[in-house]
Symmetry: C2
Subunit: 233 residues, 2 copies
């Protein structure tokens, strides 16, 4: 299987991080496709903003518009069936204290990256770009650099391929993520991310802040707000 070295598949959820990754990929590869995963409680909102964000990104630049290829959404509702709550006793709450659904599955990003790699392989796309990050977002060992690099080896051995898992946000914090967006697409891209992307765990699309929409209280909103205020300072 020939992989096109100037191509990429971006794990794209419609949030700040993956939108920044999409711009990053469009800045350097000739052919960029996107993939998303539907699962659990959050996907309704996340899925809604994906296509508007893609359209807005393509509207920023003719070059980017020409590079942006198809999107696909893979249904991974099966993750809910192997969550702790599905395997053991029923858990009463629909949301855990950290804002994650009770269907949260440890190692979930291993699954997302593996499915993305399989699709990339079959589409001939050499780079798989994911917005995982060690810096701000503690607690997810499957977002760590060691995990991603070990997984790249396992995936390439398992498919006899030479895919590259790219994680442009791995070592930067949320303020630098805004700066990265500005460096690639200027204030137009920053404004787009503020206006169009969705990060809030609770799916709140009503409350507006200077950094975008969201409940403002969940971990994801607080991270985004904090990064924004440091970026603006």
């Amino acid at each position: 299987m020939d992989l096109d070295p100037s191509s990429a598949l971006v794990l794209f959820s419609g949030g700040q991080d993956s939108t920044t990754c999409l711009a990053w990929a469009l800045s350097r590869y000739q052919r960029v496709e996107t993939i998303g995963f539907s699962y659990g409680q959050r996907h309704a909102v996340e899925m809604e903003v994906r296509e508007p964000v893609r359209r807005a990104i393509a509207g920023l630049s003719v070059v980017w518009a020409n590079r942006l290829g198809p999107d696909r959404v893979v249904s991974l509702d099966v993750l809910g069936s192997i969550s702790k709550s599905a395997l053991t006793a029923d858990l009463p709450m629909e949301t855990r204290p950290d804002g994650l659904p009770v269907t949260f599955v440890p190692g979930r990003n291993l699954v997302f990256l593996t499915f993305a790699a399989i699709v990339a392989y079959q589409r001939g796309l050499k780079h798989v770009v994911a917005g995982v990050c060690e810096t701000d977002f503690s607690g997810y060992p499957d977002c760590r650099d060691d995990t991603v690099k070990a997984l790249q080896v396992a995936i390439n051995l398992g498919m006899e391929a030479r895919l590259v898992l790219e994680t442009p946000l791995m070592w930067i914090d949320k303020a630098d993520t805004w700066r990265l967006a500005e460096s690639m697409g200027g204030h137009a891209l920053v404004d787009l991310i503020v206006e169009e992307t969705h990060t809030c765990y609770l799916g709140d699309r009503a409350r507006r802040h200077d950094w975008g929409v969201g409940c403002g209280a969940c971990d994801a909103c607080r991270l985004r707000a904090n990064g924004w205020s440091r970026y603006r300072a």
Copy 2:
């Protein structure tokens, strides 16, 4: 998460290899659960024989019966949606010349092992046992020892766990797989595998041979028949 060192989760498809692995696990661990994956064309037949094989295995030994815990089946029909045929042009045939469905997905065992590891982790089962094998079954890089070992590292980094992926058949051929079964469960286990398990790619349950049921012509049947004749010689 505490993993019980005397426990295992066996990837169990109802075929010769995974049934031998189930006996292998029951011979050495106190608590053994099974997991299967439904996908593509073959699962109808495979799923039908799973429970009879489990019951028959438990019927061989009171010790094994006491050790055998619950079974679960995870639906991975989503693999069909990321197969080559789903992502690109329609492919006319329902079965490829090698007997695999057109929904075959490279790297599929990476997905199975990762899902099994996630379930094992949440169930507290330390060993994940898979009947993958380098010796007879060429062509599947995701069945190779290097792949499985790299994946163990990625999975353990990704879940901060110390799971062990066990592959008792990795370096033995199909004749030795019959010998291994005999060494663990005598002729009763060998007979059970002949009578109850299903290997045939085409799902043929009608034609009987001295090594079991199957079309006798597909790659899987030929491997099984060849191993049987060398074992009996």
